[in-house]
């Protein structure tokens, strides 16, 4: 027998309207689950008072120092007892999905069975960092719920000052624009750092995201400490027959207005015979023309990745974009993947040793300067790392000749 439902006049208003309603879902769970009855009571109270009533704490599973988001209710009655006792412990387990967030129906149903057994029945697909969020269970059920999910082959995600769950786009599984095996890359990066994920001891969080092309559907440049972006370095592939077909279908004006003139580096021209002229030397792989003419254009064959470092959201110095630290590297052979694994380890170790408490990688780079960071992780400088050279002369340059010699050596070696 479950508790009687609470009156939730404000939440009820979110049951109407064409978009699927999470409130309807909460109510359905509450029919059989006291925890959800009380959760709705607390949520309705929040809507009335415009205050949240959760506080954190320390809840975990054996062997791991993080990954569970503890939530204890602070909402107490006048007697000092929890007003909504069945939801007074409402912890979340972060679980890492397969790369690309693919599932078969049986797996999804097993997730439901487990969460119905141990928790609230409320699962979010997915959190902002890419976790499956099993939301709402009490402290005692955290371990057995995790054990069952772990037995299915799933592992805890990241939380706190640790490596976090990574994300990779649908990429090679379905997208013709994919320039790298995104799933393999993300899996390698995260699994190489599981110790730093499950036993949080970093200065702050660290995120890996992998997008298969510069469309960056995983928002890696902005949201990842280490962003891997698939790209190519040879000529874009042009099927001139398909170009002509596209022009015939849409008209020259459409192609000129929406493709030719939109190229950021004026690398395209439409010939009189409706074929496309591409100045590949000026192409910056922005993906726009390929996005528009999906049949006619595609990335080149000499594929690889561009790596950017330092993306983060606001706290504490403001939002930062990741910036280029590796303009291009192949990522196909096992040796290539070993290279990336070693570099990622260097970067993580450098971050762990040099960042201040609660400082992000990008903030650390801002503080010490990019050249110091590159030296620290063993990467060469490259003009592709800047949008423009410095505009101020306030720097000591008495080793100019030495630096020029280094550059000349590198040029000869290449």
């Amino acid at each position: 027998m479950t508790k009687p439902m609470r009156d939730t006049p404000m939440l009820d208003q979110l049951e109407s309207g064409p978009w699927p309603s999470f409130v309807t879902g909460l109510k359905r769970l509450a029919k059989d689950n006291d925890m959800m009855v009380d959760l709705m009571g607390q949520l309705e109270t929040s809507y009335e008072t415009k205050k949240g009533y959760w506080k954190g704490g320390t809840v975990g599973v054996i062997g791991y120092g993080g990954g569970v988001i503890p939530r204890f209710s602070e909402l107490k009655g006048e007697d000092g007892k929890p007003l909504y006792p069945a939801a007074s412990e409402f912890h979340t387990l972060r679980i890492m999905p397969p790369p690309g967030m693919h599932y078969d129906t049986n797996t999804m149903r097993k997730f439901c069975d487990i969460w119905e057994k141990y928790g609230s029945g409320l699962i979010a697909f997915h959190g902002q960092s890419g976790d499956i969020m099993f939301q709402g269970c009490n402290t005692d059920n955290v371990q057995p719920a995790f054990d069952e999910l772990n037995e299915m082959g799933f592992d805890m995600g990241g939380a706190g000052p640790a490596v976090r769950t990574g994300m990779s786009c649908v990429g090679a599984a379905r997208c013709e624009q994919s320039c790298v095996d995104e799933g393999r890359t993300m899996r390698m990066l995260v699994n190489n750092a599981l110790d730093d994920m499950h036993r949080p001891a970093l200065p702050y969080k660290f995120k890996y995201k992998v997008s298969g092309c510069p469309n960056d559907c995983m928002n890696a440049v902005q949201r990842a400490d280490l962003a891997t972006i698939g790209t190519w370095r040879d000529d874009m592939k042009v099927d001139q027959q398909e170009v002509k077909a596209f022009v015939a279908d849409k008209g020259r004006k459409y192609v000129i207005d929406n493709v030719i003139t939109r190229c950021p580096t004026q690398a395209l021209a439409l010939n009189d015979d409706d074929t496309l002229e591409v100045n590949n030397k000026d192409c910056v792989r922005c993906m726009h023309c390929i996005n528009v003419m999906t049949k006619a254009l595609s990335p080149g064959d000499d594929k690889g990745v561009t790596l950017l470092c330092g993306g983060k959201r606001t706290l504490k110095i403001g939002d930062l974009m990741g910036t280029v630290i590796v303009p291009f590297h192949k990522l196909e052979s096992d040796e290539d993947f070993e290279w990336l694994e070693e570099l990622a380890t260097e970067i993580l170790d450098f971050f762990a040793e040099n960042a201040l408490e609660h400082e992000r990688t990008g903030e650390m780079i801002e503080r010490i300067g990019l050249t110091n960071f590159l030296e620290g992780v063993g990467l060469d400088i490259d003009p592709n790392m800047i949008s423009q050279p410095r505009t101020n002369p306030y720097v000591r340059m008495d080793d100019w000749d030495g630096e020029v010699a280094k550059w000349n050596e590198r040029s000869v070696a290449q």
Binding site: T49, T92, H102, A124, D216
Partner: protein, 357 residues
């Protein structure tokens, strides 16, 4: 003897192979081209000639087991037993035969799941936990998103925008929501209210002092108790001190308001990635439907839809017409707060004679 506890099997990220639709698995890394035959449907063709149709549908993101099971029943009966989710919590069903597409769409629609979110649509709003689960929020996330997606449902299903519109929300200024064409974020407007009786009990004071972006916090004895005090002239009301020190309550039902930011873009297409920019603020936090937020967002979307060229994202449109014209077309007020004064802000000022009349 007590039983030894089960240690975790530290397997990490699982391999995706067993979760992939067989056609995706077979043609991994070997796709040729794609098209969008109708809103919410993607059609991919592999180099082998194999084809796959993807039907994308909106979800609540916060899903109960009944909804999930219903979606899985649909996936088994009307699709081929494999699904995936997008970064914005849309669900995708993959089918390898075109005749399956319409019945799948019909069934999903019948069960209340909107079809769309591809191409030049307003996709599902990326959001976080809010009052449902977070320990920091000034507002709710799922509720605000439900309310706004009810208003924008047609833009999700009809896909008639100049280009994709990515909307995000954040329930506090930690900003777990990412950059977006439109971001709807809490902006606190008053310094924290401090419970000095609790600070020394609960907070590691040096940590809190270090957390403040403007160094406005210092240790102090207040009413004889070790506590913290805030230099309210310096305080930018960001609430960064609240997570490490809950007795520094930043959330206020009246003074924590919404701000709207516009022009964020993650893609490299046509122009480099950009941050979103403040365009509106002072919007009241009014559950359960936040109508004032909807009004501003719809005004912006309308102006964008009417005026932007094809393929222009909101930020690109604003840059082309100029921000003064953006404020004109959206009828939003321009204030001194729109002028940046944070580090690096000089680069955001107009150092030219480029004026539009």
């Amino acid at each position: 003897m007590a039983e030894a506890p089960r240690m975790p099997d530290e397997t990490g990220v699982p391999e995706m192979d067993s979760y992939l639709h067989p056609v995706l698995k077979k043609n991994y890394g070997a796709w040729s081209w794609h098209e969008r035959p109708r809103p919410g449907v993607l059609h991919h063709v592999a180099k082998s000639g194999d084809e796959i149709w993807t039907v994308r549908a909106g979800t609540q993101r916060q899903m109960d087991v009944y909804t999930i099971r219903k979606l899985m029943d649909i996936a088994d009966e009307f699709a081929e037993g494999f699904v995936r989710f997008t970064i914005r919590s849309n669900i995708e069903f993959m089918v390898s035969a075109e005749p399956k597409v319409q019945p799948l769409i019909d069934k999903l629609t019948e069960e209340g799941f909107p079809i769309g979110g591809t191409g030049p649509s307003v996709s599902m709003i990326s959001h976080t936990q809010g009052w449902l689960h977070c320990d920091i929020p000034a507002t709710d996330a799922s509720g605000a998103v439900k309310a706004l997606m009810d208003e924008l449902h047609d833009e999700y299903t009809k896909e008639e925008m100049p280009n994709r519109v990515r909307i995000t929300t954040s329930c506090c200024q930690i900003n777990c929501g990412g950059q977006g064409d439109i971001a709807i974020n809490i902006q606190h407007t008053k310094p924290p209210k401090i419970d000095h009786t609790q600070v020394a009990n609960v907070c590691e004071r040096p940590t809190v002092v270090a957390r403040c972006p403007v160094a406005a916090i210092r240790p102090a004895i207040v009413n004889g108790l070790p506590s913290l005090e805030v230099d309210e002239k310096k305080c930018i009301c960001c609430g960064a001190c609240f997570p490490p020190c809950p007795p520094m309550q930043i959330n206020d039902p009246e003074h924590s308001k919404f701000a709207i930011w516009v022009g964020g873009k993650n893609s490299n297409a046509r122009s480099k990635p950009t941050f979103h920019k403040l365009v509106a603020a002072g919007i009241p936090n009014n559950p359960p439907r936040w109508p004032e937020v909807s009004d501003v967002v719809k005004k912006i979307l309308q102006a964008y839809k009417e005026d932007a060229k094809d393929w222009e994202r909101i930020g690109e449109w604003a840059e082309r017409i100029g921000w003064p014209r953006f404020f004109e077309k959206t009828d939003l007020p321009f204030t001194k707060y729109h002028i940046d004064n944070w580090r690096g802000s000089r680069a955001t000022l107009n150092a030219s004679a480029h004026i539009r009349f």
